[in-house]
Protein backbone atom coordinates (compact mmCIF):
# COMPACT_ATOMS: atom_id res chain seq x y z
CA UNK A 1 0.00 0.00 0.00
CA UNK A 2 1.29 3.42 -0.95
CA UNK A 3 1.37 6.45 1.24
CA UNK A 4 -1.96 8.17 1.74
CA UNK A 5 -2.24 11.91 1.71
CA UNK A 6 -4.96 14.50 1.36
CA UNK A 7 -4.88 17.18 -1.28
CA UNK A 8 -7.21 20.13 -0.98
CA UNK A 9 -8.68 21.02 -4.38
CA UNK A 10 -10.28 24.44 -4.77
CA UNK A 11 -12.19 26.61 -3.99
CA UNK A 12 -9.97 28.73 -6.21
CA UNK A 13 -8.31 26.62 -8.86
CA UNK A 14 -7.22 27.40 -12.43
CA UNK A 15 -9.49 24.82 -14.08
CA UNK A 16 -12.46 25.54 -11.89
CA UNK A 17 -14.69 28.30 -13.16
CA UNK A 18 -16.59 28.21 -9.91
CA UNK A 19 -15.63 27.59 -6.32
CA UNK A 20 -16.15 24.09 -5.04
CA UNK A 21 -13.86 22.48 -2.56
CA UNK A 22 -12.85 18.83 -2.68
CA UNK A 23 -10.59 17.02 -0.32
CA UNK A 24 -8.91 14.34 -2.39
CA UNK A 25 -7.55 11.38 -0.51
CA UNK A 26 -4.80 10.04 -2.73
CA UNK A 27 -2.57 7.05 -2.66
CA UNK A 28 0.48 7.55 -4.85
CA UNK A 29 -1.13 9.24 -7.85
CA UNK A 30 -4.56 7.65 -7.56
CA UNK A 31 -7.57 9.23 -5.98
CA UNK A 32 -9.10 6.97 -3.36
CA UNK A 33 -11.87 9.21 -2.20
CA UNK A 34 -13.22 12.69 -2.82
CA UNK A 35 -14.95 14.57 -0.05
CA UNK A 36 -16.81 17.66 -1.22
CA UNK A 37 -17.53 20.69 0.91
CA UNK A 38 -19.86 23.30 -0.50
CA UNK A 39 -21.36 26.59 0.59
CA UNK A 40 -19.03 29.11 -1.01
CA UNK A 41 -21.83 30.62 -3.05
CA UNK A 42 -24.72 30.07 -0.73
CA UNK A 43 -26.83 33.20 -0.66
CA UNK A 44 -30.12 32.04 0.81
CA UNK A 45 -32.18 32.95 -2.23
CA UNK A 46 -35.15 30.84 -1.22
CA UNK A 47 -35.56 32.80 1.98
CA UNK A 48 -36.20 35.95 -0.02
CA UNK A 49 -39.85 34.86 -0.39
CA UNK A 50 -40.41 36.46 2.98
CA UNK A 51 -39.32 39.84 1.68
CA UNK A 52 -40.39 39.85 -1.97
CA UNK A 53 -43.85 39.21 -3.31
CA UNK A 54 -44.59 36.43 -5.78
CA UNK A 55 -44.19 38.65 -8.84
CA UNK A 56 -40.84 40.04 -7.77
CA UNK A 57 -39.66 36.52 -7.06
CA UNK A 58 -39.67 35.80 -10.80
CA UNK A 59 -36.65 38.02 -11.18
CA UNK A 60 -34.94 36.68 -8.10
CA UNK A 61 -35.39 33.06 -9.17
CA UNK A 62 -33.94 33.91 -12.58
CA UNK A 63 -30.76 34.82 -10.82
CA UNK A 64 -30.35 31.38 -9.31
CA UNK A 65 -27.92 30.79 -12.11
CA UNK A 66 -26.81 32.98 -14.95
CA UNK A 67 -26.29 30.16 -17.45
CA UNK A 68 -29.71 28.56 -17.27
CA UNK A 69 -31.40 31.71 -16.06
CA UNK A 70 -34.26 31.45 -18.54
CA UNK A 71 -35.12 27.94 -17.41
CA UNK A 72 -35.22 28.94 -13.76
CA UNK A 73 -37.55 31.85 -14.48
CA UNK A 74 -39.74 29.59 -16.55
CA UNK A 75 -39.80 26.83 -13.92
CA UNK A 76 -40.94 29.28 -11.30
CA UNK A 77 -43.59 30.78 -13.57
CA UNK A 78 -44.94 27.36 -14.54
CA UNK A 79 -45.21 26.47 -10.86
CA UNK A 80 -47.14 29.66 -10.13
CA UNK A 81 -49.33 29.06 -13.17
CA UNK A 82 -50.26 25.68 -11.76
CA UNK A 83 -51.18 27.28 -8.45
CA UNK A 84 -53.31 29.89 -10.23
CA UNK A 85 -54.56 27.18 -12.58
CA UNK A 86 -54.16 29.18 -15.76
CA UNK A 87 -53.26 28.02 -19.24
CA UNK A 88 -50.81 30.31 -21.04
CA UNK A 89 -51.43 31.33 -24.68
CA UNK A 90 -50.05 28.92 -27.27
CA UNK A 91 -47.72 31.45 -28.79
CA UNK A 92 -46.16 32.09 -25.41
CA UNK A 93 -45.56 28.35 -25.05
CA UNK A 94 -43.68 28.25 -28.34
CA UNK A 95 -41.70 31.37 -27.52
CA UNK A 96 -40.67 29.83 -24.22
CA UNK A 97 -39.56 26.70 -26.05
CA UNK A 98 -37.44 28.69 -28.50
CA UNK A 99 -35.75 30.69 -25.77
CA UNK A 100 -35.22 27.62 -23.68
CA UNK A 101 -33.51 25.81 -26.53
CA UNK A 102 -31.38 28.86 -27.28
CA UNK A 103 -30.17 28.89 -23.73
CA UNK A 104 -29.50 25.17 -23.89
CA UNK A 105 -27.36 25.75 -26.96
CA UNK A 106 -25.35 28.49 -25.33
CA UNK A 107 -24.92 26.44 -22.20
CA UNK A 108 -23.67 23.37 -24.11
CA UNK A 109 -21.33 25.43 -26.27
CA UNK A 110 -19.96 27.04 -23.15
CA UNK A 111 -19.41 23.61 -21.68
CA UNK A 112 -17.67 22.28 -24.79
CA UNK A 113 -15.35 25.26 -24.54
CA UNK A 114 -14.61 24.66 -20.90
CA UNK A 115 -13.96 21.00 -21.64
CA UNK A 116 -11.49 21.95 -24.35
CA UNK A 117 -9.84 24.34 -21.91
CA UNK A 118 -9.81 21.54 -19.34
CA UNK A 119 -7.69 19.30 -21.56
CA UNK A 120 -5.56 22.20 -22.65
CA UNK A 121 -6.86 22.79 -26.18
CA UNK A 122 -6.98 26.57 -26.06
CA UNK A 123 -7.86 27.04 -29.72
CA UNK A 124 -10.88 24.76 -29.56
CA UNK A 125 -12.06 26.61 -26.47
CA UNK A 126 -12.00 29.87 -28.36
CA UNK A 127 -13.82 28.36 -31.35
CA UNK A 128 -16.66 27.09 -29.18
CA UNK A 129 -17.03 30.44 -27.49
CA UNK A 130 -16.94 32.22 -30.79
CA UNK A 131 -19.91 30.17 -32.00
CA UNK A 132 -21.63 30.72 -28.69
CA UNK A 133 -21.55 34.49 -29.20
CA UNK A 134 -23.89 34.02 -32.15
CA UNK A 135 -26.48 32.48 -29.87
CA UNK A 136 -26.00 35.29 -27.38
CA UNK A 137 -26.57 37.80 -30.16
CA UNK A 138 -29.91 36.15 -30.92
CA UNK A 139 -30.87 36.33 -27.29
CA UNK A 140 -29.90 39.96 -27.11
CA UNK A 141 -31.86 40.70 -30.26
CA UNK A 142 -35.04 39.05 -29.01
CA UNK A 143 -35.03 39.96 -25.32
CA UNK A 144 -32.46 42.65 -24.80
CA UNK A 145 -30.28 40.72 -22.37
CA UNK A 146 -27.30 38.58 -23.14
CA UNK A 147 -27.47 36.18 -20.25
CA UNK A 148 -30.33 37.28 -18.02
CA UNK A 149 -33.45 37.67 -20.18
CA UNK A 150 -36.26 38.54 -17.76
CA UNK A 151 -38.94 37.79 -20.37
CA UNK A 152 -40.95 35.37 -18.28
CA UNK A 153 -43.91 36.50 -16.30
CA UNK A 154 -46.56 34.55 -14.46
CA UNK A 155 -49.11 33.74 -17.15
CA UNK A 156 -46.94 34.10 -20.24
CA UNK A 157 -44.03 36.03 -21.72
CA UNK A 158 -43.36 39.76 -21.91
CA UNK A 159 -41.88 40.03 -25.38
CA UNK A 160 -42.77 38.80 -28.80
CA UNK A 161 -40.57 37.79 -31.72
CA UNK A 162 -41.30 39.35 -35.07
CA UNK A 163 -41.13 37.31 -38.26
CA UNK A 164 -37.86 39.08 -39.16
CA UNK A 165 -36.44 37.89 -35.86
CA UNK A 166 -37.41 34.35 -36.73
CA UNK A 167 -35.83 34.60 -40.14
CA UNK A 168 -32.60 35.77 -38.55
CA UNK A 169 -32.77 32.95 -36.03
CA UNK A 170 -33.24 30.38 -38.79
CA UNK A 171 -30.36 31.78 -40.76
CA UNK A 172 -28.08 31.76 -37.73
CA UNK A 173 -29.11 28.18 -36.97
CA UNK A 174 -27.86 27.15 -40.41
CA UNK A 175 -24.57 28.93 -39.82
CA UNK A 176 -24.12 27.40 -36.40
CA UNK A 177 -24.88 23.93 -37.77
CA UNK A 178 -22.19 24.34 -40.40
CA UNK A 179 -19.59 25.56 -37.94
CA UNK A 180 -20.42 22.87 -35.45
CA UNK A 181 -19.76 20.24 -38.09
CA UNK A 182 -16.25 21.61 -38.43
CA UNK A 183 -15.41 21.52 -34.74
CA UNK A 184 -17.25 18.26 -34.23
CA UNK A 185 -14.49 16.48 -36.14
CA UNK A 186 -11.93 17.62 -33.61
CA UNK A 187 -14.02 16.51 -30.65
CA UNK A 188 -14.85 13.13 -32.11
CA UNK A 189 -11.78 12.20 -34.12
CA UNK A 190 -8.71 14.04 -32.92
CA UNK A 191 -6.17 11.62 -31.50
CA UNK A 192 -5.13 13.84 -28.58
CA UNK A 193 -8.69 14.65 -27.61
CA UNK A 194 -9.71 11.01 -27.75
CA UNK A 195 -6.79 9.95 -25.59
CA UNK A 196 -7.94 12.41 -22.94
CA UNK A 197 -11.60 11.40 -23.05
CA UNK A 198 -12.00 7.76 -24.12
CA UNK A 199 -12.39 5.40 -21.22
CA UNK A 200 -11.75 8.13 -18.63
CA UNK A 201 -14.17 8.49 -15.75
CA UNK A 202 -16.36 5.45 -16.29
CA UNK A 203 -19.74 5.72 -14.60
CA UNK A 204 -21.79 2.52 -14.99
CA UNK A 205 -25.53 2.65 -15.54
CA UNK A 206 -26.36 0.93 -12.25
CA UNK A 207 -24.46 3.56 -10.31
CA UNK A 208 -26.30 6.34 -12.12
CA UNK A 209 -29.64 4.84 -11.12
CA UNK A 210 -28.47 4.18 -7.59
CA UNK A 211 -27.27 7.73 -7.00
CA UNK A 212 -30.07 9.42 -8.95
CA UNK A 213 -27.88 11.30 -11.41
CA UNK A 214 -29.67 13.34 -14.05
CA UNK A 215 -29.28 15.08 -17.38
CA UNK A 216 -26.56 14.49 -19.97
CA UNK A 217 -24.46 12.83 -17.28
CA UNK A 218 -27.11 10.10 -16.95
CA UNK A 219 -27.88 9.98 -20.67
CA UNK A 220 -24.20 9.39 -21.41
CA UNK A 221 -24.45 6.20 -19.37
CA UNK A 222 -27.45 4.87 -21.21
CA UNK A 223 -30.23 6.16 -18.95
CA UNK A 224 -32.78 7.84 -21.19
CA UNK A 225 -34.18 10.45 -18.83
CA UNK A 226 -35.35 13.68 -20.38
CA UNK A 227 -37.87 15.83 -18.56
CA UNK A 228 -38.86 17.54 -21.77
CA UNK A 229 -40.81 14.39 -22.48
CA UNK A 230 -43.09 15.28 -19.55
CA UNK A 231 -44.65 17.80 -21.86
CA UNK A 232 -44.41 21.34 -20.55
CA UNK A 233 -44.36 24.46 -22.76
CA UNK A 234 -44.64 23.45 -26.43
CA UNK A 235 -42.64 20.22 -26.17
CA UNK A 236 -45.66 17.91 -26.62
CA UNK A 237 -46.11 19.38 -30.09
CA UNK A 238 -42.50 18.80 -31.04
CA UNK A 239 -40.90 15.68 -32.29
CA UNK A 240 -37.63 14.66 -30.63
CA UNK A 241 -35.94 11.76 -28.91
CA UNK A 242 -33.43 12.01 -26.05
CA UNK A 243 -29.80 11.61 -27.12
CA UNK A 244 -28.35 8.59 -25.37
CA UNK A 245 -24.95 6.93 -25.43
CA UNK A 246 -23.93 3.61 -23.92
CA UNK A 247 -20.24 4.36 -23.53
CA UNK A 248 -20.41 5.70 -19.93
CA UNK A 249 -17.13 7.64 -20.22
CA UNK A 250 -16.09 11.28 -20.66
CA UNK A 251 -16.22 10.89 -24.42
CA UNK A 252 -19.87 9.86 -24.20
CA UNK A 253 -20.69 12.96 -22.17
CA UNK A 254 -19.04 15.10 -24.79
CA UNK A 255 -20.92 13.22 -27.54
CA UNK A 256 -24.31 13.59 -25.84
CA UNK A 257 -23.93 17.32 -25.30
CA UNK A 258 -22.66 18.02 -28.77
CA UNK A 259 -25.52 16.04 -30.31
CA UNK A 260 -27.97 17.90 -28.13
CA UNK A 261 -26.92 21.14 -29.76
CA UNK A 262 -28.04 19.70 -33.11
CA UNK A 263 -31.21 18.55 -31.43
CA UNK A 264 -31.86 22.05 -30.10
CA UNK A 265 -31.34 23.46 -33.57
CA UNK A 266 -33.91 20.99 -34.84
CA UNK A 267 -36.40 21.84 -32.08
CA UNK A 268 -36.05 25.55 -32.79
CA UNK A 269 -36.72 24.93 -36.47
CA UNK A 270 -39.80 22.89 -35.68
CA UNK A 271 -41.05 25.47 -33.18
CA UNK A 272 -40.65 28.31 -35.65
CA UNK A 273 -42.49 26.30 -38.30
CA UNK A 274 -45.38 25.54 -35.98
CA UNK A 275 -45.73 28.75 -34.00
CA UNK A 276 -49.29 30.11 -34.12
CA UNK A 277 -49.83 33.80 -34.78
CA UNK A 278 -51.64 35.27 -31.83
CA UNK A 279 -51.44 38.69 -30.34
CA UNK A 280 -52.07 37.65 -26.77
CA UNK A 281 -48.94 36.68 -24.90
CA UNK A 282 -50.13 36.75 -21.31
CA UNK A 283 -53.10 35.22 -19.56
CA UNK A 284 -53.58 37.65 -16.69
CA UNK A 285 -53.70 36.24 -13.19
CA UNK A 286 -55.83 37.81 -10.48
CA UNK A 287 -55.43 38.05 -6.73
CA UNK A 288 -52.96 36.25 -4.54
CA UNK A 289 -51.91 32.65 -5.01
CA UNK A 290 -53.27 29.95 -2.79
CA UNK A 291 -52.19 26.32 -2.79
CA UNK A 292 -49.06 24.41 -3.68
CA UNK A 293 -47.53 22.96 -6.82
CA UNK A 294 -44.35 21.59 -8.26
CA UNK A 295 -42.83 21.41 -11.71
CA UNK A 296 -39.97 19.45 -13.21
CA UNK A 297 -37.97 20.78 -16.13
CA UNK A 298 -35.05 19.60 -18.20
CA UNK A 299 -32.35 22.20 -17.73
CA UNK A 300 -29.17 22.00 -19.82
CA UNK A 301 -27.61 20.15 -16.91
CA UNK A 302 -30.51 17.88 -16.12
CA UNK A 303 -33.70 17.70 -14.17
CA UNK A 304 -34.60 20.72 -12.06
CA UNK A 305 -37.42 20.74 -9.58
CA UNK A 306 -39.46 23.75 -8.46
CA UNK A 307 -41.87 23.83 -5.60
CA UNK A 308 -43.97 26.68 -4.24
CA UNK A 309 -46.49 26.91 -1.47
CA UNK A 310 -48.78 29.89 -1.08
CA UNK A 311 -51.43 30.78 1.43
CA UNK A 312 -53.40 33.63 -0.11
CA UNK A 313 -50.83 36.29 0.76
CA UNK A 314 -48.59 38.22 -1.65
CA UNK A 315 -45.59 36.52 -0.10
CA UNK A 316 -45.18 32.82 -0.69
CA UNK A 317 -44.87 30.55 2.26
CA UNK A 318 -42.14 28.41 0.81
CA UNK A 319 -40.23 28.17 -2.44
CA UNK A 320 -37.75 25.48 -3.26
CA UNK A 321 -35.46 24.78 -6.19
CA UNK A 322 -33.58 21.54 -6.54
CA UNK A 323 -31.00 21.77 -9.24
CA UNK A 324 -29.33 19.15 -11.45
CA UNK A 325 -25.80 19.62 -10.16
CA UNK A 326 -26.99 18.85 -6.67
CA UNK A 327 -28.09 15.44 -7.90
CA UNK A 328 -24.86 14.93 -9.82
CA UNK A 329 -22.33 15.74 -7.10
CA UNK A 330 -22.88 12.33 -5.51
CA UNK A 331 -22.15 10.80 -8.89
CA UNK A 332 -19.04 12.92 -9.28
CA UNK A 333 -17.57 11.72 -5.99
CA UNK A 334 -18.26 8.13 -6.99
CA UNK A 335 -16.71 8.68 -10.41
CA UNK A 336 -13.55 10.24 -8.98
CA UNK A 337 -12.70 7.08 -7.05
CA UNK A 338 -9.74 5.27 -8.50
CA UNK A 339 -8.86 7.86 -11.14
CA UNK A 340 -5.58 9.61 -11.80
CA UNK A 341 -4.99 12.86 -9.97
CA UNK A 342 -4.25 14.60 -13.25
CA UNK A 343 -7.73 13.75 -14.56
CA UNK A 344 -9.61 15.24 -11.62
CA UNK A 345 -10.00 18.72 -13.09
CA UNK A 346 -11.32 17.35 -16.35
CA UNK A 347 -13.69 14.94 -14.66
CA UNK A 348 -15.19 17.68 -12.53
CA UNK A 349 -15.90 19.56 -15.73
CA UNK A 350 -17.51 16.57 -17.44
CA UNK A 351 -20.52 16.65 -15.12
CA UNK A 352 -20.93 20.30 -16.09
CA UNK A 353 -21.12 21.55 -12.52
CA UNK A 354 -23.09 24.67 -11.84
CA UNK A 355 -22.28 25.50 -8.29
CA UNK A 356 -24.30 28.66 -7.99
CA UNK A 357 -27.45 26.71 -8.90
CA UNK A 358 -26.63 24.07 -6.38
CA UNK A 359 -26.03 26.39 -3.49
CA UNK A 360 -28.46 29.14 -4.45
Amino acid sequence: MGKRSVIPYGPQHPVLPEPIHLDLVIEDERVMEAIPSIGFIHRGLESLVEKRDFNQMTYVVERTCGICSFGHGMGYCETMERIFDVEIPDRAKFLRTIWFELSRMHSHLLWLGLLADGFGFENLFYQCWRIREKVLDLQEMTCGGRVIFSVNTIGGVLKDMTSEHMQIILKTMDEIEQELKTIQKTFFEDYTVLSRLKGVGIMPKEKINELGCVGPFARASGVAVDMRKLGYAAYPMIDFEPVVSEDCDSYARCYVRLMEIYQSIDIIRQAIAKIPSETDLVTPVKGNPNGEAFVRLEQPRGEAFYYAKASGKPNLERMRVRTPTFANIAGLCEMLKNTELSDVGLLIITIDPCISCTER
Binding site: P17, H42, L45, L48, V60, R130
Partner: protein
Amino acid sequence: MANIKKSPWVLHYDGSSCNGCDIEVLACLTPVYDAERLGIINTGDPMQADIFLITGGINSQNEETVRQLYEQMPRPKVVVAVGVCACTGGVFKDCYNIKGGVDTVIPVDVYVPGCAARPQAIIDGLAQGIEIFQERLDEHRAKKKNEKSAKGVSA
Protein backbone atom coordinates in the same frame (compact mmCIF):
# COMPACT_ATOMS: atom_id res chain seq x y z
CA MET B 1 7.99 46.34 -14.99
CA ALA B 2 8.18 49.31 -17.33
CA ASN B 3 5.54 47.97 -19.66
CA ILE B 4 3.20 46.60 -17.06
CA LYS B 5 0.44 48.76 -18.41
CA LYS B 6 0.45 46.67 -21.52
CA SER B 7 0.17 43.32 -19.84
CA PRO B 8 -1.84 43.24 -16.64
CA TRP B 9 -2.62 39.76 -15.39
CA VAL B 10 -6.04 39.18 -13.98
CA LEU B 11 -7.11 36.86 -11.21
CA HIS B 12 -10.79 36.03 -11.41
CA TYR B 13 -12.67 34.78 -8.40
CA ASP B 14 -16.34 33.99 -8.25
CA GLY B 15 -17.68 35.21 -4.91
CA SER B 16 -21.31 34.33 -4.45
CA SER B 17 -22.36 35.35 -7.93
CA CYS B 18 -25.13 33.77 -9.96
CA ASN B 19 -22.66 32.92 -12.74
CA GLY B 20 -24.13 35.51 -15.08
CA CYS B 21 -21.25 37.86 -14.50
CA ASP B 22 -18.68 35.05 -14.54
CA ILE B 23 -19.56 33.91 -17.99
CA GLU B 24 -19.45 37.50 -19.17
CA VAL B 25 -15.97 37.80 -17.71
CA LEU B 26 -14.95 34.71 -19.65
CA ALA B 27 -16.69 36.06 -22.74
CA CYS B 28 -14.39 39.09 -22.47
CA LEU B 29 -11.40 36.84 -22.96
CA THR B 30 -12.76 35.00 -26.00
CA PRO B 31 -12.47 36.05 -29.65
CA VAL B 32 -15.41 38.44 -29.99
CA TYR B 33 -14.40 40.82 -27.21
CA ASP B 34 -10.84 39.64 -26.95
CA ALA B 35 -9.42 41.38 -23.93
CA GLU B 36 -6.13 39.71 -24.74
CA ARG B 37 -5.47 42.34 -27.38
CA LEU B 38 -4.96 44.69 -24.42
CA GLY B 39 -2.47 42.22 -23.04
CA ILE B 40 -4.88 41.04 -20.38
CA ILE B 41 -4.31 37.44 -19.40
CA ASN B 42 -6.43 35.44 -17.03
CA THR B 43 -4.25 33.64 -14.53
CA GLY B 44 -5.26 31.19 -11.85
CA ASP B 45 -2.41 32.12 -9.57
CA PRO B 46 -2.87 35.02 -7.14
CA MET B 47 0.90 35.46 -6.77
CA GLN B 48 1.24 36.42 -10.40
CA ALA B 49 -1.82 38.63 -10.63
CA ASP B 50 -1.99 42.40 -10.82
CA ILE B 51 -5.73 42.91 -10.95
CA PHE B 52 -8.21 41.07 -8.78
CA LEU B 53 -11.48 40.76 -10.60
CA ILE B 54 -14.27 39.60 -8.40
CA THR B 55 -17.89 38.82 -9.16
CA GLY B 56 -20.65 38.27 -6.63
CA GLY B 57 -21.15 39.37 -3.06
CA ILE B 58 -19.51 38.24 0.13
CA ASN B 59 -20.96 35.53 2.34
CA SER B 60 -19.71 34.03 5.53
CA GLN B 61 -18.08 31.07 3.78
CA ASN B 62 -16.09 32.88 1.10
CA GLU B 63 -15.08 35.92 3.16
CA GLU B 64 -11.87 34.33 4.33
CA THR B 65 -11.03 33.00 0.84
CA VAL B 66 -11.39 36.43 -0.70
CA ARG B 67 -9.23 38.02 1.96
CA GLN B 68 -6.55 35.37 1.57
CA LEU B 69 -6.46 35.71 -2.20
CA TYR B 70 -6.14 39.47 -1.86
CA GLU B 71 -3.33 39.17 0.61
CA GLN B 72 -1.45 36.70 -1.54
CA MET B 73 -1.29 39.14 -4.43
CA PRO B 74 1.93 41.17 -4.67
CA ARG B 75 1.72 44.95 -4.27
CA PRO B 76 0.69 47.17 -5.99
CA LYS B 77 -2.69 45.61 -6.68
CA VAL B 78 -6.06 46.76 -7.93
CA VAL B 79 -9.50 45.32 -7.19
CA VAL B 80 -12.29 45.47 -9.75
CA ALA B 81 -15.80 44.51 -8.60
CA VAL B 82 -17.97 43.27 -11.47
CA GLY B 83 -21.76 43.28 -11.33
CA VAL B 84 -24.15 44.83 -8.85
CA CYS B 85 -23.74 41.83 -6.58
CA ALA B 86 -20.07 42.60 -6.14
CA CYS B 87 -20.75 46.35 -5.82
CA THR B 88 -23.48 46.27 -3.18
CA GLY B 89 -24.92 42.81 -2.82
CA GLY B 90 -27.44 43.48 -5.58
CA VAL B 91 -30.61 41.41 -5.75
CA PHE B 92 -29.34 39.24 -2.96
CA LYS B 93 -28.65 42.10 -0.56
CA ASP B 94 -31.44 41.04 1.77
CA CYS B 95 -30.55 37.37 1.84
CA TYR B 96 -29.55 36.12 5.24
CA ASN B 97 -26.18 34.86 4.10
CA ILE B 98 -25.00 37.91 2.17
CA LYS B 99 -22.85 40.42 4.00
CA GLY B 100 -22.81 42.93 1.18
CA GLY B 101 -20.50 43.96 -1.62
CA VAL B 102 -16.84 43.09 -1.93
CA ASP B 103 -15.86 46.34 -0.20
CA THR B 104 -17.01 44.88 3.11
CA VAL B 105 -13.83 42.77 3.13
CA ILE B 106 -11.22 44.34 0.86
CA PRO B 107 -10.80 47.83 -0.64
CA VAL B 108 -12.35 48.10 -4.12
CA ASP B 109 -10.96 50.48 -6.76
CA VAL B 110 -13.32 50.11 -9.70
CA TYR B 111 -17.02 49.30 -9.57
CA VAL B 112 -18.57 47.86 -12.74
CA PRO B 113 -22.36 48.00 -12.52
CA GLY B 114 -24.82 45.83 -14.44
CA CYS B 115 -26.77 42.65 -13.92
CA ALA B 116 -25.21 40.96 -15.73
CA ALA B 117 -22.38 43.42 -16.45
CA ARG B 118 -21.81 43.60 -20.19
CA PRO B 119 -18.41 42.59 -21.58
CA GLN B 120 -17.84 46.11 -22.86
CA ALA B 121 -18.34 47.45 -19.34
CA ILE B 122 -16.03 44.83 -17.88
CA ILE B 123 -13.26 45.69 -20.33
CA ASP B 124 -13.75 49.36 -19.54
CA GLY B 125 -13.49 48.58 -15.85
CA LEU B 126 -10.27 46.68 -16.46
CA ALA B 127 -8.86 49.55 -18.50
CA GLN B 128 -9.56 51.94 -15.64
CA GLY B 129 -8.02 49.43 -13.28
CA ILE B 130 -4.81 49.48 -15.32
CA GLU B 131 -4.57 53.28 -14.98
CA ILE B 132 -4.91 53.05 -11.23
CA PHE B 133 -2.35 50.29 -11.21
CA GLN B 134 0.15 52.46 -13.07
CA GLU B 135 -0.40 55.38 -10.67
CA ARG B 136 0.27 53.12 -7.71
CA LEU B 137 3.37 51.76 -9.33
CA ASP B 138 4.72 55.27 -9.97
CA GLU B 139 3.99 56.28 -6.40
CA HIS B 140 5.73 53.20 -5.12
CA ARG B 141 8.80 53.92 -7.25
CA ALA B 142 8.96 57.57 -6.22
CA LYS B 143 8.83 56.50 -2.60
CA LYS B 144 11.65 54.02 -3.12
CA LYS B 145 13.70 56.68 -4.82
CA ASN B 146 13.16 59.17 -1.99
CA GLU B 147 14.12 56.58 0.54
CA LYS B 148 17.29 55.86 -1.36
CA SER B 149 18.33 59.47 -1.70
CA ALA B 150 17.51 60.10 1.97
CA LYS B 151 19.79 57.23 2.84
CA GLY B 152 22.46 58.63 0.56
CA VAL B 153 22.41 61.97 2.41
CA SER B 154 22.69 60.47 5.87
CA ALA B 155 25.54 58.17 4.85
